[in-house]
């Protein structure tokens, strides 16, 4: 059997943690090999070892049958290994070209030959169908294009073995489709790929084989043709997982959130939300489906007071919100699970306890006449940690040191516990493993059943279809249609999200 990559009995420790415990991974030439595991299972670590960012304590690495020591990324590059990292490794204010040539710059008499570099990149991108603008700055391009830049970086260095660490977590469905095409193309060109993803569907559709690790230990490798998502999930988590969360039919009551003729501008002054109408009733989950960048972010920011509106009205149970401060809006009954948990959701340097108190620290019982009562705060935190199964050493642990899934659970605990009339959940499961997703979905439905209004914004169509009682399709800042999840499918939604229309008129706003 011809393996391009063999990682044998790799062991990697971090202070206090064995991230990889004798893991073996063998990748055949020309295959797409999936690497699957829960958050924190050790996938990224293993790949960073392969890429030379970390040195393993034990184990052997072979490339094309030759034993190698990969002491730093340069060595990996020389061996033809390229990596697209989980968190993009791009310099935001550099151009596409500068990012790609960094460390490998073509020069003429000491000066970087940018023209030649841009040409080379253009050619390369044509060859693999990776369209990019060589002169655009990273900060100005879409996430999808950034990803293509990451891929080009590896190709520019002549990589034959590509590692993709969770490449689809931040992509829109369209971009995911494109990426899958690109990967197939790469295989045709003779490359081999290691793909890390939490999305079992993707594994089923593109991968040849799949290696599963659980808590740092290798569970085994399976042929994708011979397995199914349920089995994969069970192998990964160590128990059975339900993908489709059970839920009763909704019994919606009065409207809680009513948005009329809303117009919001984005940071550059362009109209991002234009005369948008929407209502969410108590006891229902309204999902917003749309391609990223169609005004979802601005809509949420407007509702929560983080962004000034241009015109229109937003009312929560007859109270006008658009003139209120964020604090007043929060107090009037809105819970908000933000889409970027590190930027908005948490103060990473605060303890979990303090983060639990982030919305209510100034109210009784956590504060009395301006004096903070930490005892109450941590008491509350302890309760919620238990109730929401936040895996943390203690309530005094820094939020920074928790895994993404557990950070997310802490945010949800904080927001849900305040019993808001309206719960806004933006990308609540981004980057999380199936176990965590299951838990969060259950929580959202529980809230609905308690009679709360839930507004769900997600780029995952599965999630939107599974959870929502009604789906509002957003396109260019407007709600273009409202559909019943039971009567629609991903194809139809995709069409609507792209600006198409439905034959048959249905669903009312």
């Amino acid at each position: 059997m011809e393996y391009v990559i063999e990682m044998l009995d790799i062991r990697k420790e971090f202070p206090g943690i064995v991230a990889n415990d004798n893991i073996t991974l063998q990748v055949k030439k020309g295959e797409i090999h999936a690497l699957l595991g829960e958050n924190g299972a050790g996938k990224s670590t293993l790949m960073n070892v392969l890429f030379g960012l970390y040195q393993p304590e034990k184990g052997q690495i072979r490339v094309n049958g030759q034993e190698v020591k990969i002491t730093d990324p340069n060595v990996a590059n020389d061996l033809g290994i390229g990596m697209v990292h989980q968190h993009f490794m791009l310099v935001q204010n550099f151009t596409v070209t500068e990012n790609i040539i960094l460390g490998n710059e073509p020069t003429r008499t000491g000066k970087i030959n940018i023209k030649k570099a841009a040409q080379d990149i253009q050619e390369l991108s044509n060859q693999y169908g990776l369209s990019v603008d060589p002169y655009a700055k990273i900060q100005d391009i879409s996430v999808g294009m950034q990803q293509r830049v990451e891929i080009l970086k590896t190709l520019y260095r002549g990589a034959d073995i590509l590692i993709f660490d969770e490449p689809t977590a931040a992509l829109t469905p369209q971009e995911i489709t494109e990426l899958i095409q690109i990967m197939k193309k790469l295989i045709q060109e003779g490359k081999s790929i290691i793909l890390i993803t939490h999305k079992l569907k993707e594994i089923m559709s593109v991968c040849d084989r799949c290696t599963i690790i659980r808590k740092g230990v290798g569970v085994g490798t399976v042929n994708v043709q011979e397995t199914n998502p349920d089995e994969l999930a069970a192998l990964m988590v160590g128990r059975e997982v339900h993908f489709k969360t059970e839920k009763k039919t909704a019994t919606p009551k009065e409207a809680v959130l009513t948005i009329k003729e809303l117009v919001v501008e984005d940071s550059r002054g362009v109209e991002a939300v234009s005369s948008l109408d929407l209502s969410v009733r108590a006891g229902e989950i309204v999902g917003i489906a749309g391609v990223d960048g169609n005004g979802q972010t601005e809509l949420i920011e407007a509702i929560t007071g983080l962004r000034k509106i241009k015109s229109g009205s937003i009312t929560l149970k007859n109270q006008e919100l658009s003139t209120l401060s964020t604090r007043k809006i929060t107090e009037s009954g809105i819970g908000h699970i933000p889409q970027d948990r590190h930027k908005h959701g948490l103060v990473l340097d605060y303890t979990i306890g303090e983060n639990i108190g982030l919305q209510t620290y100034y109210q009784k019982p956590m504060s009395k006449s301006g004096i903070l009562n930490y005892k109450e705060m941590y008491k509350k935190a302890k309760e919620l940690i238990a109730e929401y199964d936040v895996r943390t050493p203690s309530e005094y642990t820094q939020a920074r040191s928790l895994s993404g899934g557990n950070q997310q659970k802490a945010i949800i605990a904080r927001e849900v516990d305040r019993s808001p009339e309206l719960l806004i959940a933006a990308q609540p499961t981004r980057g999380l493993d199936v176990g965590a997703i299951e838990f969060i979905h259950k929580k959202l439905i529980e809230e609905r059943d308690k009679g709360r209004a839930v507004l769900l914004v997600s780029l995952e169509l599965d999630e939107v279809i599974n959870l929502s009682d009604r789906i509002a399709v957003i396109y260019e800042g407007k709600i273009v249609d409202i559909v019943d999840p039971k009567e629609t499918n991903e194809q139809e939604l995709g069409l609507l999200m792209a600006g198409g229309t439905r034959e048959k008129a249905g669903g009312t706003a």
Binding site: P73, M83, M89, V91, N93, L102, T107, K111, I112, K153
Partner: protein, 319 residues
Amino acid sequence: MNFLEVLAIIIPAALYSAAPLIFTALGGIFSERSGVVNIGLEGLMMFGAFTGIVSTLLLQDSLGAWAPWVAIVIAAVVCAVFSLIHAVASITLKADQTVSGVALNFLAAGLSIFLIKKIFGKGQTDFIQFRIDKVSIPGLSDIPVIGKILFSNVPITSYIAIALAFAVWYIIYKTPFGLRLRSVGEHPMAADTMGIKVVRMRYVGVMISGMLAGIGGAVYATSIATNFAAGTIAGQGFLAIAAMIFGKWHPIGALGAAMFFGLAQSLSITGAQIPVIQDIPSVLLTIAPYVLTILALTGFVGRAEAPKALGVPYEKGRR
């Protein structure tokens, strides 16, 4: 005095006092572009001034008029080495960069006077015999109007400083070294994955800043102060930092800002001799450079974007 006469006084004066600031601010750019805050520029300048004067005093008997020039080179080398203290603390030992810079300032202040007392047996040095003198550039200074304004009565070091700003611009924006240096200051992890030695780049950045601040200090000492004492460098390094930030970490911006400081300062001094301005209370003229800087930053210069990873020690694998 007519307007041109006034210009012929303040422009050369501005060029004269801006030169040390330009060198030092350019040094700061190398350090901060690599991601290392350098509040220690003040101390580095001080040590540069110290080295410049001591070297000139020791060399002037044998080298004559060349002594200050050689002294500037020596100061460059010595300060590049001296800046290693900041580099080791803030890069290798991951110290808070601001604090390490502040410590460097204390150290330079204490050490230079301590050594002066040890070497000369007194708290300040003698005056140097040979200075970097103001010159009028032959030919150019004879051009009508601008010759007197731009090319007379200015030390050569000022022109070198201006030329260097353009050279630094080229290095930072046009060469592989510059691209790598900036990448390390913006996103060290990304640079690391591209095989760039983050730590080495940062050491180089800090040492160049030491070198240039040393030159800045030595230029100040050999062209303006002409001896060394405790108060010789009193705030020039901080002004250079301000020029660097004001210039948005861009070499030409820093050049402009340093010239602006020089101009405002010379105006505040010359103002006392110019009709109309004469009547303004002198304190207003004295504080004008600082007030104008604040207004400029607030009003039309707008937000300065620091290198993203500035001040953050790089640890492999940390997110």
